[in-house]
């Protein structure tokens, strides 16, 4: 089974909770990421998304702590990928912090999940083709072996 640790983004960009939203936007633009992990003394606290920054700027908030989103799930690195996808689809949670023993290991975003789903689909497609080919060959052999044709050819 595919684990969360295999598909997550490992280089997470973090921002202190006291930082300003403009600084946060600059960091997002320069690192080209769509979400940052908000930390408090290096401990992961929450996630801030592009949407939260825009929302915060409109409602005239200045600091990250006022605008950050609390809609996220903490998952262990050994969590099953399928379970996470289920949570994404059913509960509309889009961000997953991968934390083990209080230490931030990575961030799982929608982009990671989409890419993993794609790779997974492709892998399954290839496996299915291989099974089909093996079955096809086995059937052909079976029919040949037990048919009069085999006797006619090999005596």
């Amino acid at each position: 089974m595919l684990k969360v640790a295999n598909v997550m983004t490992k280089n997470v960009v973090t921002i202190d909770r006291a930082a300003t939203l403009v600084k946060c936007a600059k960091l997002m633009a320069s690192k080209s990421v769509s979400s940052l992990v908000v930390t408090d003394k290096r401990m992961p606290l929450a996630v801030i998304r592009e949407n939260d920054v825009i929302n915060g700027i409109i409602s005239k908030k200045a600091r990250v702590i006022d605008a950050m989103s609390r809609e996220f799930l903490i998952v262990p690195p050994s969590a099953n990928f399928q379970e996470v996808t289920k949570a994404l689809r059913e509960k509309k949670i889009k961000k997953f912090l991968v934390v083990e023993k209080g230490k931030l290991l990575g961030l799982l975003t929608e982009t990671d999940i989409i890419e993993a789903t794609r790779d997974f689909t492709r892998l399954h497609q290839i496996m299915q083709e291989i099974i089909l080919a093996v079955f096809g060959l086995a059937t052909a052999f079976f029919l040949f072996y037990f048919s009069p044709l085999k006797v006619a050819v090999f005596g």
Partner: protein, 161 residues
């Protein structure tokens, strides 16, 4: 193969070309769509995503009083409702965007996102796979049946071996 028409979002946030940047920001903050399509005579001329606004906020002049056309991505890549899903995935791979307005007869009718397309293909394949497995099992059973039958009756066949 399913088509874009089946999976597109119908409720797309739109804004006129001369709309204000601030309105676009408000629309983005309220909706879950992640982008605002800029239209002129109901045809899409551009698209503003969250990233465009983030760039604007982080630039020197971060005031949001200009027209939305200053920050929009234009021209915009569109899809037709009759585009097949695997063709759509090819378009996504070559263009690299995530959101595509869907246009029919030069009118905006919906929006297709990368997420929906990938998920639809994955679901499609899962269904396909289970059907294929059932067919395979039925086939093996049938082969076995033929084998047993053959063992019983082959001596009476006209081409006796």
């Amino acid at each position: 193969m399913a088509k874009i028409r089946k999976i597109m979002l119908v409720d797309v946030p739109t804004l006129k070309k001369h709309g204000k940047m601030e309105d676009a920001a408000k629309m983005l903050a309220q909706s879950d769509a992640g982008c605002v399509v800029i239209i002129e005579n109901n045809a899409p001329v551009g698209i503003v995503t969250e990233l465009d606004l983030i760039r604007k906020i982080s630039s020197k002049d971060s005031r949001m009083n200009g027209p939305v056309s200053a920050i929009m991505t234009s021209p915009v890549i569109t899809m037709s409702p009759d585009t097949k899903l695997d063709e759509a995935l090819k378009i996504i791979d070559t263009k690299g965007f995530r959101k595509y307005p869907v246009v029919e007869n030069n009118q905006l009718v919906g929006m297709a996102t990368k997420r929906d397309i990938v998920n639809a293909i994955s679901d499609n394949l899962r269904l396909h796979r289970s059907i294929q497995n059932i067919v395979l099992i039925a086939f093996v059973l049938f082969e076995f049946f033929v084998f047993v039958l053959y063992k019983q009756v082959y001596k009476y066949l006209p081409f006796g071996i």
